[in-house]
């Protein structure tokens, strides 16, 4: 019986022929943890008392509460630094969002990567199997280099055609989550490919895979080079997306699968706009936002926060002059990290409205429970920041 991409990767990592429904004891390529959950991870690791499997494949990243935003954040940071140094593990101390760092430094096609963060599925953009786990599973993998995984069924997402101008990979991601629903792919993997995939850049692919978890999926992964399914692979179902018909999309509060075309939301007043996160804080995203903002200014009522996903992205944006564009447009450029996505900075008051390029609009995530967050592409966010209200990019963006 033929295998899907995840069946191929988990067969190799598990050392046995594996198909959907099988449980494999998989050998992992890397284990990553961060400061949002690191304390529990370290506690579980130390209770286990087995030492570290491979410090060279263990990565500790401080990215959520940075620079330390409270005495407790500082306490957790100190704990994680000590832990990484004591064990000789990799430490990235406030140089970017964990997933961007992992992509820049470690992850290669075909890898199996475990992270104590749900957006570890982002690595499918380069053809790796990334999946999020909790602290206990992360600690067990740090100690043993192994983790038991149930091989998921695969949903094939067949991409056809090409995106129209001003429509981006983020709109495809939102379209998919809206189509699948918040639990539409629970216990399943999304495998993306087809002729339309050729026109989507690696960064765009990472954006789409990043949001696989928002449909409940265990991972999302793009077919790329050798990382391909067998011709007779078996799928639980196939969804075809005609890229020409994808419009600028928005996820409206308080669920990521509550997705509508931007034109239905045009005119919605905003107070804050955010470009950044592991979904859309990469250089292409900053370029897309800067293209809308060049020579313009954000609306006087609106705060625009721009957060590069990593120091490398920040430096590249500086070299290209994008940072100057943002500052001249009136944006606040923040230090690389998770930033406003989960309310690490840029929190909202009751009744305030934010449009952001990130991945979650849950109640209370970005501040007050009665604040509202809309999710969109970086282009849509930037143009909306100028207008002071949500704008349909196909009706007035800079192509």
């Amino acid at each position: 019986m033929g295998k899907t991409i995840v069946e191929r990767i988990l067969s190799r990592a598990g050392g046995a022929d594996a198909h959907a429904g099988d449980i494999v004891d998989a050998s992992v390529s890397y284990v990553m943890t961060n400061d949002a959950v690191g304390e529990l991870t370290i506690k579980a690791f130390e209770e286990l008392g087995r030492g570290m499997w491979d410090p060279g494949r263990t990565v500790v990243i401080l990215d959520h509460y940075i620079p330390a935003s409270s005495p407790n954040a500082a306490r957790v940071h100190a704990l994680l630094r000590r832990f990484a140094r004591n064990h000789g593990a990799h430490l990235f101390d406030q140089t970017g969002v964990c997933h961007q760092i992992m992509l820049e430094q470690f992850v290669r096609p075909g890898d199996l990567v475990i992270g104590t963060d749900s957006h570890t599925c982002t690595y499918g953009g380069v053809g790796a199997f990334g999946t999020g786990v909790g602290s206990t599973d992360g600690a067990a993998a740090m100690a043993t280099g192994h983790l038991w995984l149930k091989v998921p069924e695969t949903v094939r997402i067949e991409l056809r055609g090409a995106l129209r101008p001003n429509v981006s990979a983020k709109d495809v991601a939102l379209h998919l989550v809206g189509t699948l629903g918040a639990d539409g792919a629970t216990y399943q993997a999304l495998e993306l490919g087809g002729p339309g995939a050729d026109g989507i850049t690696t960064e765009g692919r990472c954006t789409i895979c990043n949001m696989a978890i928002e449909a409940g999926a265990k991972t999302g992964i793009f077919e790329t080079g050798d990382i391909a399914p067998d011709p007779d692979a078996v799928y639980s179902r196939t969804i075809t997306v005609e890229l020409e018909v994808v419009e600028p999309m928005i996820a409206i509060p308080y669920a990521v699968d509550n997705v509508r075309p931007a034109r239905d939301l045009a005119g919605t007043r905003i107070d804050q706009a955010f470009v950044g996160s592991c979904t859309n804080g990469r250089i292409e995203d900053l370029r897309a936002a800067a293209a809308q903002l060049a020579g313009k200014h954000v609306h006087p009522r609106v705060r625009l926060l721009v957060t590069p996903a990593s120091s490398d992205v920040y430096l590249q944006a500086t070299t290209e002059g994008l940072i100057e564009t943002f500052i001249r447009a009136g944006a606040i450029v923040c230090n690389p990290g998770c930033s406003a996505c989960f309310g690490g900075q840029g929190m909202l008051d009751a009744g305030e409205v934010c449009i952001g390029s990130h991945n979650r609009n849950f109640r209370g995530r970005m501040g007050h429970p009665d604040a509202k967050v809309y999710l969109a592409s970086p282009e849509t966010v930037a143009l909306s920041a100028i207008a002071g209200e949500i704008v349909d990019l196909t009706q007035g963006g800079t192509p």
């Binding site: 400061d35 949002a36 959950v37 304390e39 529990l40 579980a44 209770e47 286990l48 008392g49 959520h64 509460y65 409270s70 407790n72 954040a73 306490r75 957790v76 992270g115 104590t116 963060d117 749900s118 570890t120 999020g132 786990v133 909790g134 602290s135 206990t136 599973d137 600690a139 067990a140 918040a182 639990d183 629970t186 216990y187 409940g216 265990k218 669920a255 989960f342 309310g343 690490g344 929190m347 979650r360 849950f362 109640r363 209370g364 995530r365 429970p369």
Partner: protein
């Protein structure tokens, strides 16, 4: 494993981990953090809960972030079991790893109101609701034996320390 009896605390569909424990509290010590459980939708929940209570929820309970603080604060408050129409994958695994019985039970959510007495039997995959005038039995998914062992031992770390595979 014995059956567990407690008071039902009822929640709806898609209760995400940012509701169970908002991100801004994640670096607090657990004993302080637990006071903020369910804060965005039910402030004061932590004060109302009595150790032994059982959460009953709708679809996709625990969706969103992988934060293990979500099941950890519920355990710290004394929540004895969680019964939902369905769970998000990572939360389900985290709860078992912390020794919390999690059961998927179709049809229960609409049949329970806040404060009902509920009896959960993880080993049998059975849930009984006790009303003032009788009771009703619901069939839940039965966890595989090795996961029941993890729960019985008090979570994955305790299970491994006791020599479990």
């Amino acid at each position: 494993m014995k059956s567990l009896r407690g008071t039902a605390r009822v929640f709806g569909d898609n209760v995400d981990t940012d509701i169970i424990i908002p991100a801004r509290h994640l670096v607090l010590p657990l004993e302080e953090m637990k006071a903020f459980a369910m804060e965005p939708v039910r402030p004061g929940f932590a004060a109302e809960v009595v150790p032994g209570d059982v959460i009953v929820a709708g679809r996709n309970f625990g969706c969103g972030s992988s934060r293990e603080q979500a099941p950890a604060v519920l355990r710290a408050l004394g929540i004895r079991a969680i019964v939902a129409e369905s769970f998000a994958r990572i939360f389900f695994r985290n709860a078992i790893n912390l020794g919390i019985p999690v059961l998927e039970c179709s049809g229960l959510h609409g049949a329970v109101t806040e404060g009902d007495e509920i009896e959960v039997d993880p080993a049998e995959g059975a849930v009984r609701v006790h009303y003032a005038d009788g009771s009703a039995l619901f069939e839940a998914t039965r966890l595989p034996a090795f996961l029941l062992e993890v729960i019985r031992d008090g979570g994955l770390i305790a299970h491994l320390r006791q020599g479990g595979a």
